[in-house]
């Protein structure tokens, strides 16, 4: 990159807020996904004005610009795929306003998801979207990817909890869209921007809705001898329209990995468990829990445990929310998918995944938001074995194709990023993609914002892209 740009950035932000040395840039070439891309310079704005000036500079020099929060994303959304300026929001992390009476909070994009809840729970409120990375991930990233989480089954995903945004347009103009009020007349630009993966504008402030903490919560762990029994339970819970607050599936294989770490008492000899939570009024949860118990028994649950206190509940959730990470105990690398299917298709789809796994010679772990039909098959591979890596990607592609075939989606909450951009044609026609390109053009005509994301490079093919994996083992001496 032109050293003039770096010097200009240093002038704007101060030297301590600009990184350009090779060893520093290497720290921003990865995120939670398996993708890799190195920026040319990394900047740490503290104010909206900082962002404006960074964007103006990028514009002047026609340099790509990509936003990043904590880099916990699973689709490569926060990676500078085409180099350029990576704007990291970790220092723009103030909660600007808490308005309990109106149940709103206004925060900067670098605020950690869970910190909003921590700031308002004393008043009986919380921020409902709870991605598994909520202890680290930031609101800016949540907004960009339209993040979900276990409890989005009842409470909705990020977009349902974001009412207004302040954004810096690729031109450098600062714009406020939506607001603290509901259903602001005009096109719902907030709804469009949430989930746009940082390709339309850079979010510098977020107005969120706060949710009342429920009066009571009950957490159930249903234990099964077969995967089918568990998935059929989910299908029936859905069909009976019970809608718990969360309904999570973990197969036996994942359970054993997780249990080694949390010691939550997950049964090691089971084929699958469902972690089901109901919350709301005391009366409501008793009724719901009873109904769920019925369904579980009907589908041959071996046992249904009820968490006896908040400590046990937290332990069960700790197991669930850290499950992906726990997989690291088994394998240095894993590839996790994010497909969605109609809940009526759950049993058949899990059987299909098993078949695909066998075909490619992988044991595929399944731990996912069953209530939403949002699958997260995990394929373990050793990055030192390129053949294995390629087979993992191929198996994942086949699973995705199946999800689409049954009327589903290639991503329920992780975003398309650059991981799934080539899968978009599986779901959308060229006309659909053109309409989306039109939207991008309206905001971001020069294409400088987070280029290389969402849209496929190749035209109209479902070819599977294989990235050269960066982590090559040290040559044995």
């Amino acid at each position: 990159m032109d050293s003039k740009i770096i010097r200009a950035l240093e002038e704007i932000l101060g030297k301590q807020s600009v990184l350009s040395a090779r060893e520093d840039l290497m720290m921003y070439e990865y995120d939670g996904s398996i993708e890799v891309a190195r920026p040319d310079v990394v900047v740490f704005p503290r104010t909206t004005q900082d962002v404006v000036r960074i964007v103006q500079l990028a514009n002047r020099h026609q340099v790509p610009i990509t936003g990043r929060g904590a880099g916990t994303g699973l689709s490569g959304g926060a990676l500078a795929r085409q180099g350029g300026i990576l704007t990291v929001f970790s220092r723009m992390n103030k909660i600007l306003e808490i308005d309990i009476e109106n149940q709103r909070a206004v925060v900067q994009p670098g605020v950690v998801n869970l910190d909003i809840t921590r700031a308002v729970e004393h008043a009986g409120f919380y921020f409902a979207p709870d991605p598994s990375s909520q202890k680290s991930c930031t609101i800016g990233g949540n907004v960009a990817e339209n993040a979900g989480g276990p409890h989005t089954l009842l409470y909705g995903i990020t977009t349902n909890h974001v009412l207004g945004l302040e954004v810096v347009m690729p031109s450098g103009e600062v714009l406020r869209v939506g607001g603290k009020t509901l259903d602001t007349p005009g096109y719902d630009l907030t709804g469009l921007l949430v989930g746009s993966e940082g390709t339309l504008a850079i979010v510098t402030e977020v107005t969120v809705k706060l949710t009342r903490l429920p009066e009571a919560t009950k957490t159930l762990l249903a234990i099964y001898e077969t995967v089918d029994d568990a998935t059929e339970t989910v299908a029936e819970i859905t069909a009976r329209a019970i809608t718990p607050a969360a309904c999570e599936f973990m197969d036996g294989w994942t359970l054993r990995v997780v249990e080694a770490w949390v010691h939550a008492g997950f049964p090691l000899d089971s084929a699958a468990v469902l972690l089901i939570e109901v919350d709301g009024l005391r009366e409501a949860i008793e009724a719901q829990a009873a109904e769920i118990l019925d369904v579980c028994k009907l589908h041959r649950a071996r046992e249904v445990r009820v968490a006896k206190d908040s400590k046990e509940r937290e332990l069960l959730w700790k197991g669930r929310k850290n499950a992906f990470g726990a997989v690291g105990r088994l394998s240095p690398s894993y590839y996790v998918q994010d497909g969605v299917i109609p809940r009526t298709k759950l049993p058949a789809t899990l059987r299909e995944i098993d078949v695909i796994g066998k075909k490619y010679g992988f044991e595929i772990g399944n731990i996912f938001h069953a209530g939403d039909g949002n699958l997260h098959p995990i394929i373990l591979f050793d990055p030192r074995d390129r053949g294995q890596y390629e087979r993992a990607v191929a198996a994942a592609g086949e699973i995705m194709a199946h999800c689409i075939a049954v009327g589903g989606s290639i991503t329920g909450e992780h975003g398309v990023g650059f991981e799934k951009s080539e899968l978009m044609p599986l779901m959308f026609t060229e006309a659909d993609l053109d309409a989306m390109r039109g939207v991008r053009h309206a905001f971001n005509p020069a294409g400088l914002l987070n280029p290389g994301k969402i849209f496929p490079f190749g035209k109209g093919c479902g070819e599977v892209r294989v990235q050269p994996f960066p982590i090559t083992p040290a040559t044995p001496l």
């Binding site: 308005d99 009476e101 109106n102 149940q103 009986g124 909705g156 995903i157 977009t159 349902n160 714009l175 406020r176 869209v177 009020t181 509901l182 259903d183 602001t184 007349p185 005009g186 096109y187 719902d188 630009l189 709804g191 469009l192 989930g195 009342r212 429920p214 859905t238 069909a239 329209a241 809608t243 709301g280 009024l281 009366e283 409501a284 008793e286 009724a287 969605v340 299917i341 109609p342 809940r343 938001h369 939403d372 039909g373 589903g408 989606s409 290639i410 329920g412 909450e413 799934k420 978009m424 779901m427 006309a431 659909d432 309409a435 989306m436 939207v439 053009h441 309206a442 905001f443 969402i454």
Partner: protein, 454 residues
């Protein structure tokens, strides 16, 4: 009839069949918007037909306005041009209903009443209890983002529409979102279409999340002598763990509008209508706790309604715009999006404005943050129109001062010559305009009807 017009008509007949093209001026009055009559109305039988009509219109620069039950054509500004009304009357099928997945895909022309009747067979429903329920279609409800009292518990369409299909101003059938309950692939263009009044595309299919019908429900009315305690009651309720499905505040004038022989709201009082739904035990809990809230807020009275009373009242609450319009020849209905804490001040300011302009005012407040204010002069003449204009402009100012947003949902056409029903232009207008240009580069979709002349 100009030669150009006759070519258009023959092309429309070619595409959809003569039986589905309305050319008779007398019949076309039914498609008028603010007195503007189109040259033709056409009802395509398929998305392909619709796309072809739009491509044709685009090539000929003919302006289209999509319509369904035609219950809300009076919303928005008059179109700058109006050549063809495109009716969704023949696009009214349920395309996919998976009760086991609680998901639904329907064509835009299906009426909400027909749809909910079909869903009810499987014990499900859509929480769109909107005005003109008997004839309003899904397409129109979504395009106008019609408000439902059930928004309190379910959010708006943006919260349960999963995806959409639509035809752009260039005639491309397009989709966004998905059919499953969760999908973040691509841009949520369907969110843009909600409330866009047919200016970005013609909606052909909407995918929804459906919800289970509650096994039990009960409706309650608490009445108060003054507005302050009413709002205190609502605030206390909002901070509580209770989960009513709706919380509607009715001012004394609106109470008169909403009263019927079947149920009369207490005269001269401010009332709060709440409903609890779900399992009997949940309804019981609300029935037990709500009187306490009412008492603490010094309610004059708290009653639970009988089924007949409930049906009458909730029906009239839902149809408030219709009743307000029936009650006045120049009814002007303004919708405010407002923060709950701002509601008291805004209400009193609005009452002042109405009083100063000698206009009767009825107000219905959705406690989660909406005010529907109906100015209802007993007659329509130059003087009342002048006063309506003045009051409406002051309403916009009042909204601005309380960080609220206002728009006029209904008003006499004459008023639209004096002001924009969308209120003063906003700073995101330029962006909205570029989006409009992307979807409708020729400006043929409902031109001029939206915010900022889009």
């Amino acid at each position: 009839m100009s030669p150009a017009t006759s070519i258009s008509l023959s092309r429309l007949r070619e595409i959809s069949g003569a039986a589905h093209v309305v050319e008779d001026p007398a019949q076309l009055t039914a498609f008028e918007i603010d007195g503007l009559r189109p040259t033709a109305a056409v009802a395509p039988a398929s998305v392909d037909e619709l796309a072809e009509i739009i491509r044709f219109a685009a090539s000929e620069q003919l302006a289209l306005v999509p319509c369904g039950g035609r219950t809300k054509l009076a919303m928005g500004m008059p179109p700058a041009r109006f050549d063809i009304a495109v009716s969704s009357a023949r696009l009214n099928r349920v395309l996919a209903f998976d009760p086991g997945d609680l998901t639904l895909g329907v064509e835009a022309g299906i009426s909400i009443a027909a749809l909910n009747a079909q869903l009810a067979e499987k014990g499900q429903f859509l929480p769109l209890r909107v005005a003109f329920e008997d004839s309003a279609t899904i397409g129109g409800i979504i395009a106008t983002n019609s408000s439902s009292p059930l928004r309190h518990a379910f959010g708006g369409p943006r919260d349960y529409v999963l995806g959409m299909e639509f035809v752009t101003g260039e005639g491309f059938p397009t989709k966004s979102g998905g059919r499953v309950v969760k999908s973040v692939a691509g841009y949520d263009i369907h969110k843009l279409l909600i409330g866009s009044l047919g200016t970005l595309g013609v909606i052909t299919r909407v995918n929804f999340k459906t919800f289970p019908l509650p096994p039990a429900q009960r409706t309650f009315v608490a009445s108060f002598a003054a507005p302050e305690p009413v709002l205190a009651f609502c605030r206390a309720l909002a901070q509580s763990v209770l989960q009513p499905w709706l919380v509607e505040v009715v001012d004394p004038a609106a109470a008169a509008v909403l009263s019927s022989d079947a149920y009369r709201l207490p005269a001269g009082k401010w009332c709060v209508v709440t409903a609890a739904c779900g399992k009997p035990s949940i309804v019981e809990r609300h029935a037990r706790d709500l009187p306490g809230f009412a008492e603490r807020a010094q309610a004059a009275e708290f009653v639970a309604l009988s089924d007949a009373q409930k049906s009458s009242l909730l029906g009239r609450v839902r149809e408030f715009p219709r009743h307000a319009r029936d009650a006045s020849p120049a009814a002007t209905l303004v919708r405010f999006s407002v923060l709950p804490t701002q509601i008291p001040a805004l209400l009193s300011r609005m009452r002042q404005i109405a009083e100063q302009n000698q206009l009767p005012l009825a107000m219905l407040v959705r406690a989660s943050g909406f005010i529907f204010a109906a100015l209802m002069p007993p007659e329509k003449n130059a003087d009342t129109l002048r006063r309506l204009t003045a009051a409406a402009q002051e309403f916009f100012r009042a909204a601005d001062d309380s960080s609220a947003r206002a728009m006029i949902e209904w008003c006499p056409s004459e008023l639209k010559r004096e002001l924009s029903v969308w209120g003063p232009p906003r700073d995101d207008l330029a962006l909205m305009r570029s989006l409009k240009n992307e979807f409708d580069p020729r400006g043929i979709l409902s031109p001029g009807r939206f915010h900022g002349g889009l």
